[in-house]
């Protein structure tokens, strides 16, 4: 699944990439379809204002949706299912300086929050909280990668934070097992903790002070120094 959302006010203002559809402030649930033939349910909760800004530049940054001033707003996406997703996003306003506050969340918990990030006009903040000039934005931005245990993505923006673009790409099902290979001998297979990315899982194993790994049945112990590889498996 690869689906992009181009936030603006007028459908024909620019031409969307084949994987993207225009978001013109529709309330959740709304079915969006792109030129690649994919459809997805998404939409806003809260009072939304829409703007077209610049049609001649990057179509993904041509317009925006933001709060109408009545409070925070949330763009909710119904994902096809749990799994790991890459999220590309752009926040800012081609015509104004902004101070952006954005929260990415799944059904139950916050994934990450960026608070009070200064974004000048003709700049955008990405899904990792970095700010780049718009003409280099998509070549520079860093996607947010998250393993969803639920199938809901929520992007909440404060008053004064404009959303320009959002893209959600499925990176595969969540890992179910961790394959731990010792320096010698046979592997140890452990259940994979839900909600972590493979990198977070490996980092937790190697860096949180845990000096050993216990097998699922509680009978085998591997000291950290004897671990050769840790591999999440689907």
């Amino acid at each position: 699944m690869n689906f992009g959302f181009d936030f603006r006010a007028t459908l024909g203002y620019v031409t969307d990439p084949s994987y993207a559809a225009a978001v013109l402030g529709e309330a959740y649930p709304n079915t969006y379809s792109n030129a690649d033939g994919a459809s997805i349910v998404a939409g806003w909760t809260g009072g939304v204002a829409t703007r077209d800004r610049i049609a001649w530049a990057e179509p993904r940054l041509a317009g925006l949706n933001g709060s109408d001033g009545s409070g925070t707003i949330t763009f909710k996406v119904a994902l096809p299912g749990p799994g790991q997703y890459g999220i590309v996003a752009a926040f800012g306003d081609e015509g104004n300086d902004e101070t952006c506050t954005v929260t990415f969340a799944d059904d139950t918990a916050t994934i990450v929050t960026y608070t009070g990030v200064s974004v000048a006009s003709f700049h955008s903040m990405d899904a990792s909280g970095n700010v780049y000039e718009d003409h280099v934005f998509f070549a520079s931005q860093t996607p947010l990668v998250h393993t969803f245990t639920s199938s809901v993505l929520k992007v909440t923006t404060a008053i004064g934070t404009a959303t320009e673009f959002l893209q959600v790409t499925s990176l595969g099902p969540p890992p179910k097992e961790i394959d731990v290979l010792p320096l010698k001998g046979s592997q140890l297979v452990l259940p994979y903790p839900l909600g972590l990315t493979p990198e977070q899982c490996a980092a937790q194993i190697f860096a949180n002070g845990q000096e050993y790994i216990v097998s699922a049945d509680g009978l085998t112990f591997l000291p950290k120094h004897a671990i050769l590889t840790v591999t999440p498996k689907g």
Binding site: P182, L183, G185, E211, Y212, V214, F221, P223, A226
Partner: protein, 65 residues
């Protein structure tokens, strides 16, 4: 499944130590934690019969049975 009563260490060279007895009221993991308490790679484990010493860094795995 009965509670395990022994903990056997396998070393990096493939040899196996004499098994440690898991005291009543202690889990295998608690015994393992005691054995590697000084697991800064400077520590060592005394063999069950007390006749030799194993650097923690030489331990490949421990298996309770």
């Amino acid at each position: 499944m009965p509670a395990p009563t022994t903990l056997t260490l396998t070393l990096l060279d493939g040899t196996t130590t004499s098994a440690f007895t898991i005291p009543t009221g202690t889990t295998a993991e608690q015994l393992w934690q005691q054995l590697i308490r000084n697991s800064d790679r400077e520590g060592y484990i005394q063999s069950a019969d007390g006749t030799y010493f194993i650097p923690v860094s030489a331990v490949l795995k421990a298996v309770a049975s």
